[in-house]
């Protein structure tokens, strides 16, 4: 029966055994390879061979495997064997086939080259989509899930502009910055996106990003260290961030709290010699505390997409002039109350309460002014908080309100 199934099926079955952690899987497979032939690993039979050894118990004769199996290796093996006897390898393989998920083992065929040289490469890698998406310059855009409106917009803008420049955007597809970066990258319909996730590829997390996962897998590639059906667990995210850092040629942190997953990604990247860029943020914004810390530690700032291209040594020769942030265009033609309200607003979220206090005007006047300024693209807000909008926000033309 085993002859009908490809070696990938046995690999999947091995990965699904309880307690078959990457280090153990590596030892079991190495053993099977080593004995099947003394030379280079034989193509296509190692996993099936390892499966046989688990069933007949010979796997436990090897000291290296035993060393990886804790204090009671025989107990671990009994668990493996029980599960192996019960598992239906053909059906499991069907699930992988149906999900169009491929398995790659370190050193095996199809394993991404950019990960082979890594100090801690994932031993097993599941991918959906085409791994060819990895061929080309790759920039990771990462950041906090609890981001500000500004952070989300910057992530989307960088994502779009990088994709247009042919750079593969890599992220964890989480809420907040990650999702925004890929939403931007997809809107460019240019370079393929790359998603590195922590859960099994059939378990979208967060659930509301199901659509995003599918699109990324369709247009680029989605990768995970976890076999299908794996739910997320807190320890999986730092492990995923390591792969993210390994895949990227440059890591851009858009917004991060002082501690958090993005800071781990940045650490991992620095440890691998991957340049880390940080988007400067207001010093009072807690969502920028992490990025500002990176800048203080010497990370180069990412103020526009050119900065990222420079870090990738791909600078586009002709720099387009950046509009100045302190844009006062049209200031003379606006009614006085609009200017008053505009100067009462900060570049970080300001509550309506504060605006009322600073202008001393009644709510209807202030509200009308805010709405007019919003339509003119000069402010943005909602939920009782308003902030001034950067020049990029005014890129989309909006109708202006008559006075």
């Amino acid at each position: 029966m085993s002859a009908a199934l490809p070696d990938q099926a046995w690999l999947a079955a091995l990965a699904h055994l309880p307690g078959m952690w990457p280090t153990r899987l590596a030892a079991v497979l190495d053993l099977a390879r080593g004995e099947a032939g003394a030379g280079p690993p034989p193509p296509g039979r190692a996993a099936a061979e390892a499966w046989e050894r688990i069933l007949n118990g010979r796997v436990m004769l090897d000291p290296r495997v035993r060393a990886r199996c804790g204090h009671e290796p025989d107990l671990v093996w009994r668990q493996w064997r029980t599960a192996a006897l019960e598992s239906d390898v053909a059906r499991l393989w069907q699930v992988y086939r149906a999900a169009a998920v491929e398995l790659h083992v370190l050193g095996g065929p199809g394993y991404p080259a950019c990960l082979t040289a890594d100090p801690r490469p994932p031993y097993l890698l599941c991918s959906a989509g085409s791994l060819e998406a990895l061929d080309g310059p790759r920039a990771a855009i990462v950041g906090t899930r609890r981001c500000t409106t500004m952070g989300r917009e910057i992530a989307a803008q960088f994502g779009r502009e990088l994709a247009e420049a042919g750079i593969r955007v890599v992220s964890g597809l989480a809420l907040g910055i990650d999702g925004a970066a890929h939403a931007g990258a997809l809107s460019a319909h240019a370079a393929p996106p790359v998603g590195v996730v922590a859960a099994g590829l059939d378990r979208p997390y967060p659930a509301r990003h199901r659509r995003l996962w599918q699109t990324v897998a369709l247009q680029g590639v989605l990768m995970s260290e976890a076999p299908l059906g794996t739910e997320t667990a807190p320890w999986r995210f730092p492990a995923r961030n390591r792969i993210l850092a390994a895949v990227a040629d440059v890591v851009v942190v858009v917004e991060s709290h002082r501690t958090g997953g993005s800071m781990i990604t940045a650490d991992q990247a620095l440890g691998r010699g991957v340049p880390v860029l940080a988007v400067p943020g207001p010093i009072r914004s807690v969502a920028s505390a992490g990025t500002n810390h990176l800048l203080r530690e010497g990370a180069p700032p990412a103020c526009d997409v050119e900065d990222i291209l420079v870090a990738l040594s791909l600078d586009r020769s002709a720099r387009t002039p950046t509009p100045t942030l302190f844009d006062t265009r049209g200031g003379e033609t606006r009614p006085a109350v609009h200017n008053e309200v505009l100067s009462a607003l900060d570049w970080t979220p300001t509550s309506v309460e504060v605006v009322l206090g600073r202008t001393g005007r009644p709510l209807p006047d202030v509200a009308a002014a805010l709405a007019a300024l919003e339509m003119a693209g000069l402010v943005r807000g909602g939920a009782g908080w308003w902030e001034r909008a950067g020049p990029s926000a005014s890129a989309s033309p909006a109708p202006t309100v008559g006075e």
Partner: protein
């Protein structure tokens, strides 16, 4: 011999007239009460006997039967004591039947013969058709509100019988204090800062818009809400009677004048049970907090902590203005027209603050926001984020506007609403809205922009128009809504970050 004395009992917040029939006749000495009395009512046997003996009347050593007619209706409480005692005296020929003709009696007896107050006096007196009504002295003012009866307030059984016999004059009724002297509650001038919050309570008062205040603990949500009744105009005669009747039926203390003239303010704690909020009960149907807040303000502080069942039970009263309580034995309808003020924190950590600054995860925020069901959230025309006032504002000498001044604008705006045939603009129907709240071109553009943005739904649009109408009324402008009013209304409906679907 037999005596029939008119009396009344309470059913929900309505009175029902009851005939107390007392028969004293031959047979083994005994005392039976029939006609569906509840426990308190059945115990009146012992109270009446002791009261008669302490008041130096004779106890008939014969068979005494008391029937409470109609016997199919349940009677509750001790309010029938006085009628049973008088009936006994008449049936035992200790008191002339002619002396009690056309008199009704309501009151509870003490063992020493004193007459005590009973809940729901106003409703019970209202159900009586006799010329004279004898009530406990404490309830004189309340019973006089009905205005159809000669009301006698008495303190003891012996005093009552002496007055009935004409041996002493009827006791002088207690002086009712001047209604104008009643207190208006806390003043809005005490609130420092809170400019948005002030606008919100003013609009809520002027248009009867339900208000949801969202802010961190200690920001002043409760303080603002407590000042809302002070902005509402005094109750009209009909509303005052209705509220008094409900409060009386619930056994709450009434003002000295007997009439509740200021809008009530009720703020149940979030541990309140469903029955205490909505009304009901097994023995007697008692009005709940929603009814007690009728014509006034119901405040639910820490709204997210209320059980979901209690919150969802608010939907019928909010929609229909009444609560229908059904039990196996009876069904009662309590009025429940109130201005709902909710207060809650923006997220589990309570701090909220600008987007991206709070330490709660997105999921935690979403879960917290889900405690208010969509339909309930939808009832709030005004959803206002409240921030803690600045240090300078707290310490500054600048006082806000006084309640009096705001109440003046509110009264004017409510008059404009009254001219449209509604109490507040929140009650405007869609057809009325089309007629009385046209929008200018500029305002239309604002709506268009927001609708396109997806920040406004069709239903939200009408609610915003109602609030904008109120804002325009407050500004004294009767014409079409311009963009200032519409934008302000949109700003007062700012869904705080936790409550919008996070994405």
């Amino acid at each position: 011999m037999i005596a029939i004395i008119p009396a009344a009992t309470l059913h929900g917040v309505d009175g029902r007239s009851v005939s107390v029939e007392v028969h004293v006749g031959p047979g083994l000495p005994g005392f039976a009460v029939v006609g569906l009395p509840d426990a308190a009512c059945r115990e009146s046997r012992d109270r009446v006997r002791a009261a008669l003996l302490s008041s130096e009347f004779k106890w008939p050593n014969r068979k005494v039967t008391v029937n409470l007619a109609p016997s199919g209706v349940r009677k509750g409480g001790a309010g029938l004591d006085l009628a049973i005692a008088i009936g006994l005296l008449v049936a035992d020929s200790q008191l002339g039947a002619g002396l009690v003709r056309d008199h009704a009696f309501i009151g509870e007896l003490g063992l020493d013969g004193s007459v005590r107050a009973v809940p729901g006096l106003l409703a019970q007196v209202d159900a009586l058709t006799t010329t004279a009504v004898v009530v406990p002295r404490e309830g004189f003012a309340e019973a006089s509100l009905v205005g159809r009866h000669t009301v006698r307030g008495v303190t003891s059984l012996s005093e009552l019988v002496a007055a009935l016999r004409g041996e002493v004059p009827w006791p002088v009724p207690p002086l009712t204090p001047d209604a104008a002297a009643t207190e208006h509650g806390p003043d809005l001038a005490d609130v420092r800062g809170q400019r948005v919050g002030r606008w919100a309570v003013e609009v809520a008062a002027a248009g009867n818009h339900h208000l949801l205040l969202i802010g961190p603990p200690g920001a002043g949500k409760t303080m603002l809400a407590a000042r809302l009744p002070g902005l509402l105009p005094a109750l009209g005669t009909r509303e005052a009677m209705e509220t008094t009747r409900i409060h009386s039926a619930a056994g709450l203390a009434l003002p000295a004048s007997g009439l509740i003239e200021r809008p009530p303010f009720r703020a149940p704690h979030h541990s309140a049970s469903m029955v205490s909020v909505v009304g009901g009960g097994s023995a007697s149907m008692r009005p709940g907090e929603v009814s007690l807040a009728t014509n006034g303000v119901l405040m639910l502080d820490e709204m997210g902590e209320f059980p979901a069942t209690v919150l969802d039970a608010l939907r019928q009263p909010l929609e229909e203005g009444v609560v229908r309580i059904s039990r196996a034995r009876s069904t009662v309808v309590f009025p429940a027209r109130f201005l709902l003020v909710g207060a809650m924190n923006p997220c589990p950590c309570g701090e909220g603050g600008p987007p991206g600054s709070c330490r709660c995860s997105d999921t935690a925020r979403a879960r917290y926001a889900r405690r208010l069901s969509g339909p309930l959230l939808d009832r709030f025309d005004l959803r206002v984020p409240i921030t803690r006032p600045d240090v300078f504002e707290l310490l500054g000498a600048e006082m806000g506007e006084r309640s009096e001044a705001v109440a003046g604008r509110v009264a004017a705006a409510r008059e404009m609403a009254g001219a449209r045939g509604v109490v507040g603009n929140a009650q405007l129907t869609l057809a009325q809205l089309e007629r009385v709240a046209p929008v200018t071109k500029g305002a239309l553009r604002v709506f268009e922009y927001r609708l396109r943005q997806g920040g406004l739904s069709a239903r939200g649009l009408h609610r915003v128009r109602r609030v904008a109408r109120t804002l325009a009324d407050l500004a004294g402008c009767d014409g079409p809504l311009d963009e200032a009013h519409v934008c302000a209304a949109l700003e007062l409906r700012a869904d705080p970050s936790g409550l919008q679907s996070a994405a």
